[in-house]
């Protein structure tokens, strides 16, 4: 205490200048954080506000910045007009199915690529990566024909195959370096014990990789939950449509004079983002490591 105060007193002039500078610096920092938070959060605030306001309060000039009347009526109207629960359930099946299938397929392939050194392993790995660059939209026409012939349009399994295939290469990209960094001795010891490959994968490799696998399950769930294009084309019935499809149908349908139902669109948007927000808040640390591991090698 005494030392620091005597130190601070030494050069009086430079000290004051420094203090003003650091004060300015603090202020700038706080301002920047404030602007950043405003830019990120305001659209959510606006959607939430619109979803809880009665319809007539949305269409005023100037718009209301604060909630004056709280109502859940928009959610009620929405549930009366579209099969909301059904879409929610479909989204849940679609997203969890795609997440599980992609992580399992990617895990098996990544193990082969990382551990069983074989000729052409690098080629297969690069092949997976290059296939990410093929735009999904360019595959829809032949897939539509194929699915038509196989009677897989409007089936969960058809949708899950498409979506899990789309996210498998990313998953492999993240998993291969992860498996490579696990010391191989553990597995060698297991092979000497005579554990066969499936048992060894299940009892030894999977437990070591649990955090990575859980992270990828969450990431792939979020990505699939948010997917629009595949369900838009391949889910056209009430029994398979996802929330994203229900939402855009409401958003792009032609309107007859009355303007778009922004109160309903906001309410449905809320329903779609709340599960994702819960996941993000619970698993933020895992998600951050998962997202950055792939990009920062």
């Amino acid at each position: 205490m005494a030392i620091s105060s005597s130190k601070r007193r030494e050069p009086a002039f430079a000290d004051r200048r420094l203090r003003v500078l650091s004060w300015l610096d603090r202020l700038m920092l706080i301002l920047s954080v404030g602007i950043f938070l405003f830019a990120v959060l305001f659209p959510f605030y606006w959607i939430a506000l619109s979803s809880f306001s009665p319809r007539y309060e949305l269409f005023t000039i100037p718009p209301r910045y604060w909630l004056s009347t709280f109502t859940l009526e928009n959610y009620q109207v929405l549930a009366d007009n579209i099969p909301l629960l059904r879409y929610f359930f479909n989204s849940l099946i679609f997203a969890s199915g795609s997440s599980v299938v992609s992580v399992v397929a990617a895990f098996l392939a990544s193990y082969a690529l990382a551990r069983l050194r074989f000729r052409g392993a690098d080629l297969v790995f690069v092949g997976f990566l290059v296939s990410i660059a093929l735009p999904q939209i360019g595959t829809l026409v032949p897939l539509f024909d194929l699915y038509n012939r196989l009677h897989m349009i409007n089936t969960y399994r058809g949708l899950i195959i498409l979506m899990s295939s789309l996210i498998t290469p990313f998953t492999i990209w993240i998993l291969v370096p992860f498996i490579q960094q696990i010391p191989v001795e553990i597995e060698e010891a297991a092979t000497i014990d005579g554990a066969r490959l499936p048992q060894m994968l299940w009892h030894i490799v999977v437990p070591v990789m649990r955090p990575a696998l859980v992270t990828l399950l969450i990431l792939n769930f979020i990505i699939s939950w948010n997917e629009l294009l595949y369900p838009l084309v391949f889910a056209t019935t009430r029994a398979t449509k996802t929330l994203s499809v229900g939402l855009v149908e409401l958003a792009v349908q032609p309107t007859s004079g009355g303007g778009r139902p922004w109160h309903l669109l906001s309410a449905q948007s809320m329903i779609m983002i709340i599960p994702v927000l819960v996941l993000v808040l619970f698993f933020q640390r895992l998600i951050i490591t998962g997202l950055t591991r792939g990009a920062v090698k």
Binding site: A109, A112, G138, V252, L277, L279, I288
Partner: protein
Amino acid sequence: MSHPISDEVRADAALAREAVQERALRRRAGRRKVARRLVTLFLLLLPAVGLRLFTAVYPYLQTIRLSFYEYNPAFPPERFVGFENFERMASDPSVTSSVSFTILFVVVSTMLQLILGLLVALLLNRAFFGRGLVRAINLIPWAIPMVVAAIGFRWMYNAQYGIINDLLRRTLGFTVAWLTNYWSARVAVTATNVWKSTPFLALVFLASLQGVPEELYEAGRVDGTNRLTAFFHITLPLILPQVTTLGLFMLVWQLASFDLIFTMTGGGPGYATQVLAYAIYQVAFTGLNFGYASAISMVLFVVVAIFGTLGVLLYRRVEVIY
């Protein structure tokens, strides 16, 4: 009738025979091991490779073929038309303008995302109260669906009741019919796209920033460098490889953007905000012109290939320099 010598020879021969047999056995076992390894390899790779072959490789080959056909799924027989689809495209404004807007949209978006992403990362890397929470909030735009972002912004851009015009009216005294004017619609969709993806880039850059050793900055401080020089001479060179990789990834990835345009503008006004992916979707599933849609897909694929190659070349250069 046995000679001692021939006995020995016989014993030797028996030993040799045994050795040969054993070697053969071992070789057979080895071969069996190799075969088992191959089967294991095949089984492990099968699900992932199978999925990709079924939903990416096969359809792409079909798309290439179909681009030379006229094909309406409602009137099945396909008709070979050679390069007709491609000739038709040259004079189709919905295609030509989507090519130019796709490139403009992707290049401008990526540049803004890189710059803003770096700025946000630098901000989130500083010490301040509640930094952990702010970093978590930074995840939100990445995590929400693009369709929700598009709807939220479309509502905020609303010419009459939108919040953006209200703020403009209060501060600057004018309003813009955002989504009904040619250039303002282009600005609006690009801004929404930047808003949605910048936090993801910031997150990755933040991780790279945390990898820059603190001693370098301390050394810089001893030499009396200020923060700006430190950024350009210490930070940027060290994270440049990651910045280029991510920039390349965003360029190629965003060439296929669909959700935003579909939900926010439907390509309008006119063809102002039409991107290739949206044009393909419209031609295929509204116009039921599968052949023509495949031909446009080929254009998109060529654009992706060009950008990808340029990007990889650029990446190599950066790697050599640093």
